[in-house]
């Protein structure tokens, strides 16, 4: 019985081998023909499935009128890296949001098409799927709403949407792609923004050493562990507990809580921040608390890029918080010394904190080919 079974099993295997060879040969012929005759890229189709760890939570933000599809993401990625969307055909979203720098550009303020400076520091693009308010002042309620601003702002890409629509309409590839994504080949500003937003939602960073630690597959160094402890604990000098309480605003597995604060950079902030549209004095110099994911890659720091290094950032929170009527409550009177007016971290603790911040670098994210410039490999 046993032998028979083996014999029966062997026969189909040899037959299968033959079939597999035949199919492979046919595939090669088809592939060869496609490469020879086709200039159209193969566009992946269907719903886009977001993959992320369960501890990120499911409070994701995808507008009902812009569901994420593979074809939409494909188009959005081309548009994100499309310099034709700028007045000079030289700048794309990807110019100020470079993957190698966790989608920032290393400058305090980015330089736009007119050689003018953007108003605020280029923000890192990671885990936007969970964000509900956009820009440093949170004034846009969706990624779709956010996208239009840098496209048309004279100090950024500086091109009216109608011109962008015209330029894309004159290409060989875009009308066909818009048809695949939206059902007809009409190109509109809204459709451009929707596709870029779809691509940006796929920029998920979830494989830093901190994520690996949370998955129990990375053992942090002593400094990283002590830094993590400081990061997560509030100072309570009377009980002998030392802490930096970063988690108050940067807590959770995403190190992002969507909060807006005045973090004591200035007594009177030059930049009004949220006060520009709320009109409230307590919103002056109030800005988005950014994600700390990949923070070691996104220097310089703060809304105006004033701090060049993480050391300067930690020094600020430790010793240089400026009092004002707008200073957020949790930064007032927080200290590691009894009766102290500032946090007063020791030099060693600062190093440990920075060791932990370096754990948030996700090298998989910055080298993921799905997020890279597709124009280098795709004809346009």
């Amino acid at each position: 019985m046993k032998d028979n079974r083996q014999a029966n099993y062997k026969l189909p295997l040899s037959l299968r081998k033959g079939k597999v060879c035949l199919i492979l040969c046919l595939l090669l012929v088809v592939a060869g023909l496609t490469a020879y005759t086709g200039t159209e890229p193969t566009v992946p189709m269907g719903d886009y499935v977001f993959n992320y760890p369960a501890n990120f939570g499911n409070r994701i933000n995808v507008p009902a009128n812009n569901p994420t599809t593979q074809q939409g993401v494909y188009l959005g990625r081309l548009l994100f890296y499309e310099p034709k969307l700028s007045a000079t055909n030289t700048i794309s979203c990807g110019s100020c949001h470079q993957q190698s720098k966790a989608f920032t550009d290393g400058k305090a303020l980015s330089i736009g098409v007119n050689n003018g400076l953007a108003t605020r520091n280029s923000m890192s693009l990671a885990n936007l799927l969970w964000a509900r308010k956009f820009f440093w002042d949170g004034r846009a309620a969706s990624l779709e709403g956010q996208v239009a601003f840098p496209l048309t702002n004279p100090h950024e890409m500086g091109q009216p949407i109608e011109v962008s629509v015209q330029k894309l309409s004159n290409t060989k590839v875009y009308p066909g792609l818009f048809k695949i994504v939206y059902g007809d080949s009409t190109i509109t500003g809204e459709r451009i923004a929707k596709a870029i937003a779809q691509f940006e939602r796929t920029l998920i960073s979830a494989n830093s050493r901190y994520d690996q630690y949370l998955r129990n597959v990375y053992q942090p160094t002593d400094d990283e562990l002590k830094g993590m402890e400081l990061f997560n604990r509030g100072a309570d000098p009377e009980k002998g507990i030392r802490g930096a309480n970063c988690t108050h605003c940067h807590g959770g597995p995403k190190t992002y809580l969507e909060l807006f604060h005045n973090n004591g950079l200035d007594s009177i902030s030059k930049d009004e921040g949220m006060a520009a549209f709320t009109g409230l004095v307590t919103d002056r110099g109030r800005f988005k608390v950014p994600t700390l994911r990949n923070i070691a890659l996104t220097a310089p720091y703060m809304h105006d890029g004033r701090f060049k290094t993480l050391d300067e950032v930690v020094d600020h929170y430790s010793e240089h918080i400026k009092q004002s009527v707008s200073l957020s409550a949790f930064l007032q009177g927080e200290s590691n010394e009894v009766g102290g007016k500032s946090l007063k971290l020791q030099p060693k603790e600062k190093k440990q904190l920075i060791a932990f911040l370096n754990m948030l670098t996700d090298s998989t994210f910055i080298t993921d080919k799905r997020f890279a410039d597709p124009h280098r490999s795709t004809k346009n």
Binding site: F260, H261, E272, M274, G279, S328, A329, Q332
Partner: protein, 162 residues
């Protein structure tokens, strides 16, 4: 020319002081019959209540303001005899200037369900709240952690759990 200069100066002055002139308000919206926008003067129109609880300094403070369910009742929220059936799947989402959000089930706010008082406070020990805490703050009587005593309240939305 002088006239234009004057207009220009007035415009600049207008822009310069814009941030200082607006009054903070709390917007009440969502599953309500009459949306409300409540400023400091409006809050005085309601019956005033006090709640004593500890703050971060570990000391008892007297907070005064208005019971949240009084405000919600005025907005036409389904409290009291209407708080039954599917209305028990409703909650109040409170939002602050900094984007912080906390929620209360409607039943936590209704005196038919609980004697615990939850107020929208505007004073601490008889004085206006500090700018970083006010002008409006939720104070939850007897709750051990202060995390739901949300500061700088800007909005209260009543919603159905989906």
């Amino acid at each position: 020319m002088k006239k234009y200069t004057l207009i220009l100066l007035l415009l600049i002055a207008g822009f310069g002081t814009r941030a200082q002139t607006k009054e903070a308000v709390v917007k009440v919206s969502g599953e309500v019959t009459s949306p409300l926008t409540i400023g400091s003067a409006d809050l005085q129109q309601y019956k005033q209540t006090t709640v004593i609880r500890k703050d971060r300094d570990g000391k008892d403070h007297t907070y005064s303001g208005v019971i949240v369910s009084d405000i919600l009742t005025k907005a036409g929220v389904t409290l009291g005899s209407e708080l039954r059936g599917e209305n028990l799947a409703k909650f109040l989402l409170v939002e602050a200037s900094d984007g912080y959000q906390v929620l209360f089930a409607l039943a936590e706010l209704d005196k038919g369900f609980t004697d615990r008082t939850i107020i929208l406070a505007d004073k601490i020990d008889g004085q206006p709240l500090a700018p970083a805490d006010g002008p409006f703050r939720i104070i939850v009587q007897d709750e051990k952690k202060p995390a739901r005593c949300i500061k700088q309240v800007t909005a209260m939305k009543v919603m159905f759990a989906k």
